[in-house]
């Protein structure tokens, strides 16, 4: 009988301890990042693997270092890369990357002999269709170069797919 009472009192005490911990945390500052009002600090994205991007060559930020050797295409387990060599020279004419298939494994980055690939830190990329995730990396490289040169963003503004008007997207 006495034992049961003591057990129950101990139990009650344990509940009070738990409640006091919860209470303490209730009054402590917020721990979460309220996206989109807040975003994480850029340094915490330093090595985050976002969609691939091409590394610009040392002399021209709009030019790629890629030599169209196809090593990345062959290394990729998901077949998400397409590199087509351009006329004359080694520079690629087409560099398409399907982000919807990519598993961010870095096999392509590690296979590239020219160190022409790296991961971007675009964590806020969104798309409504799969086709929007087929990224043209050459265009992306040019846009980045234009932006860095001080010009406006060279990319056309993203168009909503047909049938989905901007108001409907909220």
């Amino acid at each position: 009988m006495l034992r049961a009472i003591i057990d129950n009192l101990k139990g009650l005490y344990s509940l009070l301890v738990g409640l006091s911990i919860t209470g303490r945390f209730l009054l402590s500052p917020q721990r979460t990042v309220h996206y989109p009002r807040q975003v994480v600090a850029p340094e915490s994205l330093a090595s985050f693997r976002g969609p691939l991007e091409l590394v610009p060559s040392a002399d021209d930020p709009a030019k790629t270092r890629c030599i169209s050797c196809q090593m990345c295409v062959r290394a990729c387990p998901d077949n998400c890369l397409k590199v087509v060599k351009g006329e004359g020279g080694k520079a690629p004419a087409v560099w398409v990357y399907d982000f919807s298939l990519c598993c961010l494994c870095a096999a392509c980055v590690e296979a590239c002999p020219a160190s022409a690939l790296r991961f971007s830190h675009k964590v806020y990329l969104t798309a409504l269709t799969r086709d929007e995730l087929k990224l043209d990396l050459l265009a992306d490289l040019k846009a980045r170069a234009a932006k860095a040169a001080g010009g406006a963003d060279a990319r056309p503004p993203a168009q909503p797919p047909a049938g989905l008007e901007p108001q409907a997207r909220l």
Binding site: K10, G11, L12, S14, L15, V17, G18, I21, T22, F25, R31, S44, A46, S47, F48, R49, M71, R74, A75, C76, P77, C103, L104, C105, A106, A107, E110, A111, F119
Partner: protein, 397 residues
Amino acid sequence: MSGLGFINPFGVRELPGTTTGDFYTANFAQKAQPGRVILNLGPQHPSTHGVLRILAEMEGEYVWRAEPVLGYLHRMHERMAEVKTPQQFLPNMGRVDYLHPLAWNWAYVGAVEKLAGLEPPERAQWLRTLSCELNRISSHLLWWGAFVMDLGGVTPILYAFEEREKINDILQIITGSRLTMSYFRLGGVCADADDRFLALTREFVPYLRERLKMYRGLVTDNVILRRRLEGVGPIDVDMCRRYGATGPVLRAAGSPNDLRRDVPYGTYPQHDFWPATGFPDDCFGRYLVRLAEIESSLDIVEQAVRGLPPGPIMVDKPPKANFKMPAGETYFAVEGARGQVGVHLVSDGGKNPYRVKLRAPGFSNLSLFAEAAQGTLLADAVAILGSLDLVIPEIDR
């Protein structure tokens, strides 16, 4: 079929000459006794962690018979291993068990290295231990939160997530991702630890030790949790042996089996830790074992940060894209957060392995559920299910 007294919980009309439900339900219901209710838990149910389905024959509130139905998350990982080179298959391993991906990384890389005779450099080995243990802690933390949530306490998982996010931040520095990590490479690891990584890890160890004390006050000592778990679902060593259960389930049953000690691999022989045992064999024991393992993993992490030697992180000649394994057969197992993670690899000397068998600890741990849940209350069966720490993608592969 009316003789079965089959009651359909979802109100689907019974067609003449058939039982309601699919093949599994119909098959399961055949052995049901009159007056019993067949209950479907899952495949989409908050208490089953992903798409696991449990069929239970209920006598009132008591589970008379239970049977797990698997395969809803089968993704043919073993087949994929046969059609891809080892390097290309590596990212799959992070997807098999998304809570402890680095153990699976290690199991596969270890199997290939064992067959090909590759010996990763010292620093890579230490980094493997370090990252794998950090990952184990994050896996146990998530289990802790999810288990308590199964039992009806919704808040603790949010505390667990705070720590988990910290570990993710740390692991992201070297692995580049936060969930399905693919960090190990044949012959080493893919990125070196920088100062930020080491500093954050050093900071994290005492921080989590403090937090574990808070966990104790918040959950472990809580009378509601104790009365809910103590004495529920005893699983003894014999039952573990019959079903092949490993990991914390086996250690809670009282057997100190831990591959990190029994079949040492990597740098574990150089670490000072002891498998957590000496707990009761019920749900509460399995709860305590995992919390104790977080602490022992913290010790290993601390030792690994202190002892991390300088040097390369990759063998001199890393395997190229045209790498061919020698013909042969090998098995390599590591201790994952849920138990023995094994890879049985058969190679015929070609670019792709001939056959890869993945041994998922969760599969064996789940197998004993049918026996352990027999005769328990339904609510206790959910507690047993939670205490097994199941990750369904790993079970279904």
